[in-house]
Structure formats: C-alpha cells, structure tokens
C-alpha cells in the first residue's frame, strides 16, 4: 500500500546517485539525525547508535546510484536497514555472556526508585529502555519517527491491529513507570 505513495526523497536520491554534492549534503541533513534518533532510542547507547547511523548512511550512498523509484520509499528502506542493524546488535547484547554473574541480590534501589532520582529526560529514556523490544520499536516508529500506522506495521511485518496492540501495551507500561514521576513533577510545579 505504502509503495504506491509518492516518494518525497526520490529526486534527491537520484541526484545523490549522480554524486551531486548539494544533494549529498541535503540527504544527510534530512536522514542522518533521523537514523541516529531511531538507533539511539532502540539501543539506548549513543556510541552504538552512531555506528548504526553511519552504516545506514554508507549503505544509502551505495544504494543511491542504482535506486529505482517506485519500488519502495527510500525512507522506509533506510528504516528497514536501521532496524535490522539494531536487532543484530540487540541480539549480540543478549548473547554476550556476563563477565561476572551476580551471586547475590543487587542491594541497590528498586528500578522505579532509581528512576525517581533521575532527571525527567533520563527517566523517560530509562523507561523506554525497560520496554520489551517490540513495544519499544512500535513506540519509536509511531511516536518518535512519526510514521503512519500502515508503514510502521509493514516495517515490523505485522498487521495494523498487532501494531496497535503493541502501542497500547507499551504506552500503558510507560504510563505506569512514569505516572509517579509526573505526579512528583506536578507537585513540584504547584
């Protein structure tokens, strides 16, 4: 369905493929922050996010000379590449053995208590990092990347109903993690 939509990046990508320096600058200004944000919120790590964003852009440079407008939107293609790279890294993080497995219960504060001591921006970041990967992906694509539900569902290879379920559960979880914080913030403002 999304394939029939006009691609707002098509002309720019063709010019990038010809090596037009102005188009290269314009595409980078348009897409690099977008890919960096996606990777940062998916991975929760600035350095890894930068690696992913760089790899996506390098692949875009390589793809541009042979890009065929009409097959898929370039932005969707970039999102697909970025998500694959993010999932590769998340899988590696899961498979990485722990250097020193904990042999006793962590005596530190409970997760929610930890959030309490953080700045609001950091609390939101931590709350998003706590979400299951698919819920996080749904919220990142729909809220932060501002993709439509059909495009987001296509990228995640699920139905729109399944996407809505992930979004709904994700937002409910975030609300429960952040509500005490919001209350405290409001109390502070009063």
């Amino acid at each position: 369905m999304t394939n029939r939509l006009p691609d707002p990046d098509a002309d720019l990508v063709i010019r990038v493929g010809r090596g037009d320096p102005a188009a290269v600058q314009a595409l980078m200004a348009r897409k690099l922050p977008r890919m960096l944000s996606l990777a940062r919120r998916m991975l929760g790590d600035a350095s890894e996010a930068e690696d992913v964003a760089q790899e996506v852009m390098v692949r875009a440079w390589r793809q541009a000379p042979t890009w065929q407008p009409g097959a898929a939107r370039f932005d969707s293609w970039m999102h697909r590449v970025a998500l694959n790279l993010c999932y590769d890294r998340l899988r590696r993080q899961r498979e990485r053995p722990m250097a020193e497995p904990p042999d006793q219960i962590d005596p530190g504060p409970a997760p929610d208590a930890g959030l309490m001591g953080m700045a609001m921006k950091d609390q939101v970041e931590a709350a998003i990092a706590k979400l299951p990967e698919r819920q996080r992906e749904a919220i990142v694509l729909c809220h932060y990347q501002e993709l439509g539900n059909i495009e987001a569902a296509a990228l995640m290879e699920i139905s729109v109903e399944a996407l809505e379920s992930l979004l709904s559960r994700g937002r409910r979880a975030l609300r429960s993690l952040l509500t005490p914080l919001n209350d405290r913030r409001l109390e502070g403002l009063a």
Binding site: V16, G17, R18, G19, D20, P21, V24, Q25, M28, L32, P33, L36, S37, R40, R41, A46, A49, E50, A53, Q54, M57, V58, W61, A64, P65, M120, K121, V124, E125, I128, I139, C142, H143, Y144, E146, G148, N149, V160, E164, L167, S168, R171, R172, L174, R175, L178, L181, N182
Partner: protein, 145 residues
C-alpha cells in the same frame, strides 16, 4: 466512532489526531466537537504521556560523523564526453611526452653524430696537416738537393 474506540485510539496513538489512522481522523474530530468534555479529558491524559516522551531528545550528529560520511559519499559523475575528452587528453599528454622524449633523444643523437664527424674532420685535418708538412719537408729536401 464509539466512545470506546476513541478511548482506545487515544491510549494507543496519543493526543495528536494526525497520528491516528487516517481513515478515522475525521470521525474523531467530529466526536471531539460533539462530546468535547470527555473527549478532551481523554486527549489531555494522552497528552501528558506524549509530553513526557518528547523530553527524550537525541543529540545532533557529531561533526566527526558528518565528515566521515561526506568522505564516503558518491563523487560527481563525469559525462561520457568529458570522460572521453579526459582520456584523450591523457593520451595526448602521453604522446606529447613521448614526442618530447623522442625529440630529445634525436637531438642528442644528432649532436653525438656531429661531434663524431667533427672529430673525424679534426683528425683527418691533423693527418692532412701532417702529410702536407711531410710533403713540404720532402719538397724542401728535394730543392736542397
């Protein structure tokens, strides 16, 4: 649109109706106009979470990252004509260099040949001088006799 569906969509997509499914945006707006109080309450609740999410901003790409990417970006492609001209120019420069080198070798060879010839003439002259002298001495001796 039922109130339940409105509530579900607010809790799913947030307070901004533009993020809602396109097919349901117009109905949602109508419902807001007809039932503003409870619809507004639901949207306000969703907006609280939206605002909290918006606090999570990502820093801009570093200058180093942008420079690395510019260095790897596609270079301007030259047209077939300019490429041909460029190649011919290359060939021309090569031929010209070869010509100059040939000319230098030629000039050098001619110089060497001329130097050889002048040596031969000098030697020949020397021999000639010697023979003239010998002939003069011989002629003088004959006269004395």
């Amino acid at each position: 649109m039922t109130p339940e569906r409105f509530k579900y969509l607010a809790q799913t997509y947030g307070a901004n109706l533009k993020r809602w499914p396109e097919a349901e945006q117009a109905e949602a707006e109508q419902l807001c106009q007809h039932s503003p109080v409870w619809a507004r309450a639901l949207l306000d609740e969703a907006a609280d979470l939206d605002e909290a999410l918006d606090l999570y901003r990502v820093e801009a790409p570093s200058a180093a990252l942008r420079e690395r990417l510019l260095a790897l970006a596609p270079r301007p492609q030259r047209s077939l004509w300019s490429r041909l001209v460029g190649e011919w120019r290359g060939w021309g420069m090569g031929l010209a260099a070869a010509g100059v080198a040939g000319l230098m070798v030629g000039i050098g060879s001619v110089s060497l040949m001329m130097a050889d010839q002048s040596t031969d003439v000098t030697v020949a002259s020397a021999f000639d001088g010697q023979s003239v002298y010998s002939e003069a001495v011989a002629f003088g001796a004959e006269e004395k006799l």
